[in-house]
């Protein structure tokens, strides 16, 4: 099995590679179109800013390539947001795999909301093969200022003042807002499930 991690200008790629190492899978980090296309599994990670990341992908024609992939694809954090239709972060049109808007967290009038959300939050309404044997209310590690709204493609929900999509799925495209590679045993289970698809 060939597992590819898409290399682009948006951080945390090594963490994903190490997490794969821990479950005995060697991840290939690459931006080579042929290698990505021929992979069995593709992981699209990311920590960073939406418009710079989209620009980078477009310049290398990786945007079209990702959208056309037929094998299982897992977007993580910014990767998931880029798979949505549009992000409020610098008003960025994204890949449009999911018909979902990405918005910025805002403080309610009576409460100072800390942004980014940093830390462990529970996920509910789990409805995807990537969550097999992952119990409802499992805690995952989140770090983000923007969130994907709820939609018919939501397969996991988290709450930070409002309910939002912690997981999305459509056909062969899977995505999580949290960092499974940093979410202890529960996160590792999700990576294992994805690799078994």
């Amino acid at each position: 099995m060939k597992t590819v991690i898409i290399k682009y200008n948006a951080g945390n790629i090594r963490s994903v590679m190490f997490a794969l190492d821990r479950i005995g899978v060697e991840g290939i980090v690459t931006d080579d179109p042929e290698t990505i296309k021929s992979a069995d599994k593709v992981i699209f990670p990311g920590v960073g800013e939406a418009s710079t990341a989209m620009k980078y992908l477009q310049e290398r024609k990786l945007d079209k390539l990702i959208t056309d992939l037929k094998q299982p694809v897992l977007g993580i954090c910014l990767g998931m947001q880029l798979m949505c239709k549009h992000s409020e972060e610098n008003n960025t049109p994204c890949l449009g795999i999911f018909d979902v808007e990405v918005k910025r967290f805002t403080s309610p009038v009576d409460n100072l909301l800390k942004i980014p959300q940093i830390g462990w939050n529970n996920i509910t309404g789990l409805y995807s093969t990537m969550f097999e044997h992952v119990p409802e209310n499992s805690y995952m590690y989140f770090v983000h200022s923007y969130y994907a709204a709820l939609s018919s493609e939501t397969v996991a929900t988290a709450n930070y003042v409002i309910n939002y999509s912690a997981g999305l799925q459509k056909d062969n495209f899977y995505a999580v807002q949290f960092h499974p590679e940093k979410s202890a045993v529960a996160g590792q289970k999700i990576l294992e499930n994805f690799l078994k698809l």
């Binding site: 800390k114 830390g119 939050n121 805690y139």
Partner: protein, 251 residues
Amino acid sequence: MLTKRIIPCLDIKDGRTVKGVNFENIRDAGDPIELGALYAEQGADELVFLDITATNERRKTLSELVTRIAKHVNIPFTVGGGISSVEDVNVLLQSGADKISVNTSAFKRPELVDELAREFGSQCVVLAIDTRFEDGDWYVYLNGGRVKTDIKAYDWAKEAVQRGAGELLLTSMNNDGTKQGFALDITGKLSQHLNVPVIASGGAGTMDHFVDVFENAQADAALAASIFHYKEIEIPALKTYLYQRGLNIRF
């Protein structure tokens, strides 16, 4: 709901943990990786590694250590100590650190915070402040608490957040080592007025001290070292206790 975080802190020198640690269930208590992995297994929510190495070799030793930690530890970790440039941070993040913390270097050149936030994002920039209460207020101390400044901790924290710090790690020198509890007033002031998470540090001695700092000072996370290393408080028991007291805790 977002949980309160429990964070053990490990002091590192020349790639080894410094404080004497007594764990019979690990082979080498001086090995930061083994100790870090054990804490992760016990339910620690994050780890902080503070490097106090003062040799020329430190940068290389530290980046190698960070890579080894990242390979073996499945929870987020922060690395701090002697970081003073974008390049220092780049090396550590590339090696696998999730966040870095800056202290004296950022105070001396506050633009460093802007540069780091712009380059890597606020989410990985932790501003550490050592503070002491005297003459009626909390003042910033530098160089591991050896050098006093005339700037108030709240003012510096506020400026750093405006510049892009994504989290604050506040250590009260008055409380550190006393085991008499965290500094609730200054922790609460930062937490209630600044819109980034605050990690309280210094003074933990009992489980109730953690309850206090979460409930009465609205800390987002609490950091401690020796009480965990010497097993005066064990993380599973602490998390159970906090949960029973109605706090949001991850299991």
